[in-house]
């Protein structure tokens, strides 16, 4: 049955064939024609009876339908079984014949055949795919690939596809619009089931299909859209919908071509010599984008880049001729599209803001932008913000109102801006003209939209990046906006801050800035009625005490100081857990000494204030603070600040390792603050890094005497401050007994650890010789640390705390006595330290009421006496103390004065202890007569 080898048919035979074709009956035998014979008959007519071609094509529809049906049946029964198999094969053979015939025709005269045959084949494919859509074994319309596999495996549809492809490729050089139009029409009609055809053809002829589909769509859009008839709009939607559907299929693989084509369409539409179609291109493209997020996504990013001043001016010119209503409509479409854009959202924002309100009044080189463009962009931004607000707040409202609405509507624009929160914050903080108001508003919307993380991030960035009070105000304003609709905002923000810091994501200067900003916010005055951030922020921050306090020991002093500033303004919690508190105390103390060393007055103030506040938290805290302070002050390194001689051989754990100024103690201190070791047996210590070279002795710090005095005064003032801390209302200079006791204990522990548990009572003077070595060591400690004596004096103020220093007093007294006993100088002035120490010791004991005032005044005589006389006097003091042991129970609390006082009248007669004193007075009466009055009770 090939056209070239069949003999020419006579008219009579042809008439017979027509009859057979129409009736379906074999004229010779009168039997019914089989499907394939009938089809062959049809093909014969197709080749020799031109006017019958439409009838033949219509008949062949049935043939293809039968073939599909048979194919599906065979496929279901899995294999060629019996008659169905043979019919399938026979049908397939005829289908192939049809293909050959049509292929020959198309090859011979594509212009005449391609439009007819392509329309026929595409329509038939549409019908078949719709018809068999629901059948078992036919995959759902969603699974495009399976569908494609099924239909391309079916001979009938495969042949149809081949035929269409041939038509299209035959017409591609000329004018494929007829073929593409058929495709669009069918796609409108059989949309979901027909998608496989579109997908296949589209991927076979991507460029043609893309450009033609677009141009056909545009033509259709113009035809129905520009007339403005009410019926037209109904019609327009489906055709453009199928354009969208087709491009949507292609978008996954050919987005580049699509993008190029769309942009080309856009730019061509702006040219000067444009026709009616091109004028409609912009509305058309907007409509397309409106209907397909995928297309919008492919174009939007690049489109913005191409919107240069000339293009914008052209656009403006184009739109300025439109009526107001249409303009508003376009504007709202644009705003809607921007909301739906995700790719390049940040760039779009940039573009809009820059165009509407350039950062600088100096215009860029190139053609100037018309004012209308600026106004339009300004309006777009305002509408955009309004629209976003509506979206964000409706969304939030719906979420709160209806619990069953689990998926809130996403706003791609905001989603895409999420990663750019920091950039947005930076831009806002520039406070440029009107822009920052928009940016701030957008930031707030973004924060609400992306809550909770978005909100906390935004606030965090603002707090971190702000440098001036004006900039910081943006953060508080943002909080004011957000706090009305978001709960738990500040805790989350603070947690974010802490996490960011500890993850090391912030450079040191920013950490410092953040702390200063936080401190500023906490301290800020609640000005007008706005919900203030400070009062809320303080307690929240205080919850992170351990995290923050650990930063007091930050290697960057600036950070440490800022942390100190922040902590010093925080309201500390009422009853914090001991461990973190202790950590904080330890860190704060250390920081204090560091600051003291650096002689920075303001930071010193902060540091002191912090310690004072810490100590006011609880008695235990105060105790810890005092203990740490004392311990720190006596430690090597710090001790030099108070005049201790640095030329002691360095102990192993306190020496600096290498020139980097790294101290193992420092390292371990930081370590333990962070990890919170309990300090048990299992503690692990950092032992330094091996291989940093030999240890270099610490350079001797040269401190001028004024500085030493100043330091000592500062330290003592701080101690007093802390010691008073438990009773913050008290303004007297008195020191709390408990605090004093803590200092006393700390002193004992640091000066002579092995004597910490020693008895308070005094042994006979002879027995003191048993502890002579210890006493000497105590004395040497006092000698090394000039700070110790003022400390004793301080303890003495808090009666009866000095009792607990009994062992130190004893040791020091014994050593001094031994010195004076052995001293062969004429006057006490020859050993100035011992003189000073003796005086201070006695004065302290007197102050502490360990000895009665008569005895306590004796130190006034010391400078005028001979050493042995001093020895005698001290010995009498010893005797007194031996008789009247320095026990706290000898003191009684005087509520009216708020003090512990000792009533010496209850003790034994002091007279016998005064004998030596009096005799010394007598002996030197010529010199000491003036003072005698002080020694007679």
């Amino acid at each position: 049955h090939h056209p070239h080898c069949s003999p020419p048919i006579t008219p009579t035979e042809l008439a017979q064939e027509v009859k057979a074709f129409l009736s379906g009956v074999d004229p010779a035998h009168g039997t019914k024609l089989s499907a394939q014979d009938h089809a062959r008959c049809a093909l014969l007519l197709l080749r020799s009876l031109p006017p019958a071609r439409h009838a033949v094509l219509q008949h062949l529809r049935g043939l293809f339908d039968d073939q599909v049906c048979a194919h599906l049946l065979t496929r279901d029964t899995s294999g060629t079984t019996g008659t169905t198999g043979t019919t399938t094969a026979a049908l397939e053979e005829v289908v192939q014949e049809v293909r050959h015939v049509l292929a020959d025709f198309i090859r011979a005269n594509p212009k005449a055949w391609a439009p007819v045959v392509s329309a026929w084949s595409i329509e038939l494919m549409g019908q078949l795919s719709s018809k068999y859509a629901g059948r078992p074994g036919v995959p759902h319309a969603n699974s495009l690939n399976e569908l494609l596999q099924l239909w391309m495996g079916c001979p009938a549809t495969r042949v149809l596809m081949d035929i269409y492809t041939q038509c299209l490729s035959a017409m591609i050089g000329g004018c494929p619009d007829a073929c593409v139009d058929a495709l669009l029409d069918t796609s409108v009609q059989h949309s979901p089931h027909f998608d496989w055809v579109v997908a296949h053809i589209g991927s076979s002829f991507p460029n043609t299909i893309i450009s033609r589909v677009l141009s056909c769509g545009l033509k259709d859009f113009c035809a129905h859209g520009s007339a403005g008839d009410p019926l037209g709009t109904d019609k327009r939607v489906p055709k453009i919908a199928s354009v969208v559907g087709i491009l949507g299929h292609l978008a996954s693989r050919h987005s580049g071509s699509i993008k190029q084509e769309l942009l080309r369409m856009f730019h061509e539409s702006l040219g000067p010599g444009r026709d009616q179609h091109q004028k409609a291109a912009v509305p058309f493209l907007l409509q397309l984008a409106l209907m397909s997020p995928a297309l919008l996504g492919t174009v939007s990013a690049e489109l913005v880049d191409s919107l240069k001043p000339p293009v914008l001016n052209q656009l403006h010119q184009h739109f300025s001729s439109l009526p107001r209503e249409e303009l508003d409509n376009t504007m709202s479409i644009v705003v809607h599209l921007i909301c739906q854009t995700s790719a390049g959202a940040h760039r779009i924002l940039h573009f809009l803001v820059n165009t509407a309100m350039p950062a600088s009044v100096i215009t860029a080189p190139g053609p100037p932008l018309q004012d209308g463009v600026r106004e339009a962009c300004d309006r777009i931004i305002q509408l955009l913000l309004l629209h976003l607000q509506k979206l964000v707040h409706n969304r939030a409202g719906a979420g709160a109102g209806a619990a069953e609405a689990p998926v809130p509507r996403p706003v791609p624009f905001l989603d895409a801006l999420r990663p750019h929160v920091r950039d947005l914050c930076l831009e806002t903080l520039r406070l440029e003209r009107k822009r920052f108001l928009w940016q701030h508003q957008l930031l707030a919307l973004l924060a609400v939209y992306a809550a909770p993380h978005g909100a906390t991030d935004a606030l965090f960035h603002l707090l971190t990046l702000a440098r001036t009070p004006d900039e910081l105000a943006l953060a508080t304003q943002l909080h004011a906006v957000l706090s009305s609709c978001l709960t738990d905002l500040l805790p989350a923000t603070v947690t974010t801050c802490v996490c960011q810091i500890h993850a090391g994501r912030l450079p040191d200067p920013q950490v410092a800035q953040l702390f200063r900003n936080l401190a500023a916010v906490v301290q800020a005055d609640t000005g007008d009625g706005a919900p203030a951030m400070g009062p809320v922020l303080g307690p929240v921050l205080a919850r992170h005490l351990p995290d923050l306090s650990q930063l007091l020991l930050h290697r960057d002093a600036d950070v440490a100081e800022a942390a100190c500033l922040l902590l010093s303004v925080l309201p500390l919690p009422r009853a914090p857990a001991p461990a973190p508190l202790l950590g904080a105390v330890r860190a704060a103390t250390h920081q204090f000494f560091l600051v003291l060393r650096s002689q920075n007055t303001t930071s010193l103030g902060c540091s002191s204030r912090l310690l004072a506040r810490l100590s006011s938290v609880s008695p235990a805290a105060a105790k810890a603070v005092l203990q740490q302070l004392v311990e720190g002050a006596l430690r090597r390194g710090n001790a030099e600040l108070f005049g201790a001689s640095p030329d002691q051989p360095p102990q192993w754990d306190e020496c600096g390792a290498g020139g980097a100024g790294v101290s193992l103690l420092d390292t371990n201190r930081r370590f333990t603050t962070a990890v919170n070791f309990t300090g048990g047996v299992w503690s692990v210590f950092h032992a330094g890094v091996i291989g940093r070279g030999p240890q270099v002795p610490q350079g001797r710090g040269e401190h001028p005497p004024e500085e030493l005095t100043n330091n000592t005064q500062t330290f003592l003032r701080l101690l007093l401050l802390c010691a008073r801390g438990a009773r913050p209302g008290d303004t007297t200079t008195t020191i709390h007994p408990e605090a004093a006791k803590a200092i006393a204990a700390a002193l004992v522990e640091n000066v002579c650890p092995e004597a910490a548990g020693a008895e308070l009572s005094w042994p006979p003077e002879e027995q003191a010789r048993g502890t002579v070595e210890r006493d000497l060591r105590i004395c040497r400690r006092f000698q090394e640390h000039p700070l110790l004596l003022p400390l004793l004096r301080l303890v003495a103020l808090g009666r009866p705390a000095l009792c607990y220093c009994s062992v130190l007093l004893r040791g020091l007294l014994a050593s001094l006595m031994a010195h004076w006993e052995g001293c062969r100088d004429a006057g006490t002035g020859a050993s100035p330290w011992h003189l000073q120490a003796s005086c201070a010791l006695v004065a302290a004991m007197a102050e502490a009421s360990l000895v009665p005032p008569v005895l306590g005044n004796m130190h006034e005589l010391f400078p005028f006496l001979a050493p042995f006389e001093v020895h005698l006097l001290l010995l009498s003091l010893w005797e007194y103390l031996r008789d009247n042991g320095p026990f706290p129970q000898r003191f009684s609390f005087q509520p009216e004065r708020g003090l512990f006082l000792r009533d010496f009248s209850r003790d034994g007669d002091v007279g016998k202890h005064l004998a030596v004193l009096h005799s010394v007075l007598h002996k030197n009466i010529h010199r000491l007569g003036l003072l005698a009055g002080r020694f007679y009770p």
Binding site: P3, H4, L46, L49, P50, A55, Q58, F105
Partner: protein
């Protein structure tokens, strides 16, 4: 009629169409019996339009459409009807009531159906239908005839490869139809643009027909009672003018087409170039052949005109059609660069000159040489044409020169067929000796046709 309509309304589209045909047959048969020339009233034609051409009578009523299979069935039925209707007059009247254009919106489907019917009749060789169609072509305005021609050409020359053979066969079945078909085809393809150059298959078909029997061209003319003045807007009696146009314009039109395809930025691939140039060469030969046949027919014409007593009264090649032809040649040769197309222009003008000369000589073209001179004055120079328009030396005082006298200053031009100068005299022995121009008062024929 209205009760018939009601019964038809209940039927499906195909059987309603069949019924209409049936009723029409009865109606006209009875009418013809009562009166020899029945008046076609509006009733049947309305029925036809509603049920055969599916033009809805009431507004908004959904038309019953025949699908293409049903349409094919209808065509078959119609073919068979015309075949089986023995009475020629009934056939004719039914055909014309079916397909005479009425100037309403049914005309489009009417013409579409006619095209299919004739096309089918060609394929299955239904002579009565073809005869009816030939008759229809004669009495229908040319615009409709051209549409039918286009439908047939599309079917047999463009769409189905090889089917031109089927069309070729009807030469023997219905020469009358062939003749009308040629006339309508030459009216359609006037070579005024590249699209209106006849397809080569068609050209070959027509040339083969005419070459086989040149008298084919004259069949309509010979078999039709001639009214003295032909109505305007209808096909001409013979395709002579159209064929002359083809032969004369062809060299220039093909040249223009070639030039256009080159300048359009389609540098032809080697194979395409070879095939098209080969095809063009074939075409040129065909046109040559055709030109010869046309000249031969023109030569024959004198006898037939004389026979019908129309010599000098009926211009089968009207001067009114020669004028635009000359203008077109003028325009075309201006359009083509004379330097590049000198050969083509020469050929076209040669053919024009020959055709004019022979047509004038045979009495088919009725005009004076002065008229010709005016018309041809702006054409590029051509020796032969110069000779033709200057004509023999005028000796108006000696009005009765023997026919065939030529002043001896002329030598016959090269390439002019030797026998064309000496027409087949024996074929027309009964020509009147007296000049014919005396029949048309006020017209003088300075040139006397040869006997």
């Amino acid at each position: 009629m209205s009760d018939i309509r009601h019964s038809l309304l209940r039927r499906d589209a195909l059987s309603a169409a069949k019924e209409v045909l049936y009723h029409l047959d009865i109606y006209f048969s009875s009418q013809l019996q009562s009166a020899p020339l029945p008046l076609v009233d509006k009733g049947p034609s309305e029925l036809l339009e509603e049920f055969l051409f599916q033009v809805p009578k009431e507004r908004g009523a959904p038309p019953k459409r025949l699908n293409s299979l049903q349409e094919l069935q209808l065509l078959e039925i119609m073919c068979n009807y015309f075949q089986e209707q023995t009475k020629d007059s009934v056939r004719q009247i039914i055909f014309s009531s079916l397909f005479s254009p009425q100037g309403n919106k049914a005309d489009d489907s009417r013409m579409a159906l006619l095209g299919k019917l004739v096309s089918m009749a060609v394929a299955v060789c239904r002579v009565p239908v073809l005869e009816c169609a030939a008759f229809w072509l004669q009495r229908t305005p040319a615009v409709y005839c051209v549409r039918l021609a286009r439908a047939l050409v599309d079917d047999y020359c463009n769409l189905v490869p090889g089917s031109i053979q089927t069309l070729k066969q009807i030469f023997s079945a219905s020469p009358r139809f062939c003749c009308q078909f040629i006339t309508s085809v030459t009216a359609l393809y006037d070579l005024s643009s590249d699209d209106l150059i006849p397809p080569s298959d068609l050209l070959e078909l027509i040339v083969s027909w005419i070459f086989e029997d040149p008298r084919l061209i004259l069949i309509t003319f010979l078999n039709t009672p001639i009214a003295a003045n032909l109505p305007i807007g209808f096909l001409e009696l013979t395709p002579l003018t159209g064929l002359i146009r083809w032969c004369v314009k062809a060299p220039l039109a093909y040249k223009r087409k070639k030039k256009a395809s080159l300048s359009n930025g389609h540098p032809p691939s080697k194979i395409a170039k070879d095939s098209t140039s080969g095809e063009d060469r074939d075409c040129h030969q065909l046109y040559s052949k055709l030109h010869l046949s046309v000249l031969q027919v023109l030569m024959m014409l004198q006898g037939h005109l004389t026979e019908k007593n129309l010599y000098g009264r009926l211009g089968l090649v009207p001067f009114d059609h020669v004028v635009p032809l000359v203008e077109e040649i003028n325009r075309l040769s201006d359009e083509l660069n004379p330097l590049n197309a000198s050969k083509e222009i020469e050929l076209a003008l040669d053919r024009l000159a020959q055709a004019l000369q022979v047509a004038m000589a045979s009495g088919a073209l009725l005009c004076t040489r002065d008229d010709l001179r005016t018309v041809c004055s702006r054409l590029p120079h051509n020796n032969l044409l110069q000779l033709v328009i200057s004509g023999p030396v005028q000796q108006p005082t000696h009005g009765a020169l023997p026919p065939g006298f030529y002043p001896h200053i002329h030598t016959p031009p090269l390439g002019y067929p030797a026998h064309a100068a000496h027409p087949a005299l024996p074929a027309h022995p009964a020509l009147p000796a007296h000049p014919v121009q005396t029949f048309i008062p006020g017209m003088t024929f300075p040139y006397r046709p040869i006997r």
